[in-house]
Symmetry: C2
Subunit: 273 residues, 2 copies
DNA sequence: CTGAAAGCGCTAACAA
DNA sequence: TTGTTAGCGCTTTCAG
């Protein structure tokens, strides 16, 4: 025998299947005596309703489950977005399926497809694709402009935008006077590299994404922040608006960015270089 | 009309329902001509199988979905565990429902119950509870001992274990000579507090959990690490062993800890105090 | 190789 | 207030 079903409960309580259904779903039009018997049977058998079966028959056809596809569930930005989405979802009795795309469009596509087979009510994704499901796209391109502008305003003309290959930058014949780091891990790598080379007070640095100890480093690190919590809340809000079918709702969430000047980004290039 | 069903595809392709089922499930005992017609109909209608319905009828009764309950999906440790679990799950074609408990047992209980209604195949949880589902518990208590021992070995007798209330510690009549910080965010708060009070070279600090910039602070922060990736992989491995019904598998995963001495934890108490 | 019938666990619509 | 019947979309079983 597998898990007990509604039928088992009905038999045990000596009532009809439908009465059990009513009690389980909290309908108030059931005789208190019967309801008590049903609840006793539920407890005795360890019965738990099967949401999959109920959703199959139900009219609204909602699974009360959404998907969230982020670059990397382990990364600080994705993780914070995820949590914010979770909180919004929880408030609505909705569960969240998570997935990391590693910025691979094919993987994102596969995950969307897989979630669709599960009949998720909608999808939030940090990418640029569009899918044929209720969905909200988080656009993370913003922020680069702001960082670049800041460095230019401080006199820099040779600015490196660094992804992964941190050390290659310093091997260039005409090395940059300023660095814009593409993510938090990269920013920290750059700090480490600058120290090793004794350049920490000579090369400017702006990081994309804030991190907890940024203000405690020397020099403190200037960053362009994108509030992941606000982003997640906004995306979830827009998605649920779509799902609940009111207004169409926003399909793209752009993240407002803020530059926090702390020192490293305000270093000026050496004159006469 | 809602989404097209297998019946719609069958009608469109001029075959029986069962033939569509065979093609969709990749059975090879179908005439290639019929299979091609079915595939064409699937594409034309934009048909997608309904996993919920199929799981209802299927014999193995697996949802191919597990739940992961962590302290905080946004926290670095939880997030890294989550990602590792996701990777293990993906390799098995399993999806992951995530949930933050904020270390509230009631909330953990509620989430387990909710996931059980969805018939998840199992649950991983970072807590100390046990549930009547295939499950693996991650025990995070370890590490405290190791940190304490380290500080005592360096001569400390008044050691504060700090959770949240960072500032209260310094208001004590007889303040500690060493601090053990319970989590990464707390560690960073303590660093900040020590600096504000000019105590950064006088009070020892050991943090539970490593963080990316720990070695770049001054003094660099001594930490007790728990490898979240290894933890997640181990927990997922143990859970899938249970689910696949081979050996019973471990029900509790203890995280091996390592102390990384970087400076802050090796400060000795002022003599004669 | 293909199909018809039954039924997974549950809720909708209707009847008593 | 309670129960009966039908059927959600799919897989199983068994017959052709």
């Amino acid at each position: 025998m597998g898990r007990p079903t509604m039928n088992d409960v009905a038999r045990n309580a000596g009532v009809s299947l439908k009465t059990v259904s009513r009690v389980v779903n909290g309908e108030t039009t059931v005789d208190p005596g019967l309801a008590a018997r049903v609840r006793a049977a539920v407890a005795a058998l360890g019965y738990r309703p099967n949401l999959g079966a109920s959703m199959l028959r139900r009219n609204d056809r909602r699974t009360r489950m959404i998907g969230v596809l982020l670059t990397d569930l382990a990364g600080p930005f994705s993780a914070a977005v995820h949590r914010a989405v979770e909180d919004e979802a929880r408030a609505r009795g909705v569960h969240v399926l998570g997935g990391s795309t590693d910025d691979d469009p094919q993987r994102a596509q596969d995950l969307v497809e897989a979630f669709a087979r599960r009949h998720v009510d909608g999808v939030i994704l940090m990418a640029s694709a569009v899918v044929d499901l209720p969905s909200v796209v988080i656009d993370r391109e913003a922020g680069i402009d702001q960082g670049m502008r800041h460095l230019r305003n401080h006199g820099h003309r040779r600015i490196a935008f660094v992804e992964q290959e941190v050390h290659a930058v310093f091997a260039l014949p005409d090395p940059p006077t300023a660095i814009l780091a593409g993510s938090t891990p990269v920013t920290i790598e750059v700090v480490r590299a600058l120290r090793e080379r004794g350049l920490r007070d000579r090369v400017a640095l702006v990081g994309l994404g804030d991190f907890p100890a940024a203000d405690l480093l020397e020099p403190a690190v200037t960053v362009v922040t994108q509030d992941p919590g606000a982003t997640g809340r906004a995306a979830a809000g827009a998605l649920f608006e779509q799902i609940d079918g009111g207004t169409p709702g926003a399909r793209t969430i752009s993240i407002p960015t803020t530059l926090i000047a702390r020192g490293s980004g305000e270093i000026r290039p050496a004159t006469g270089s």
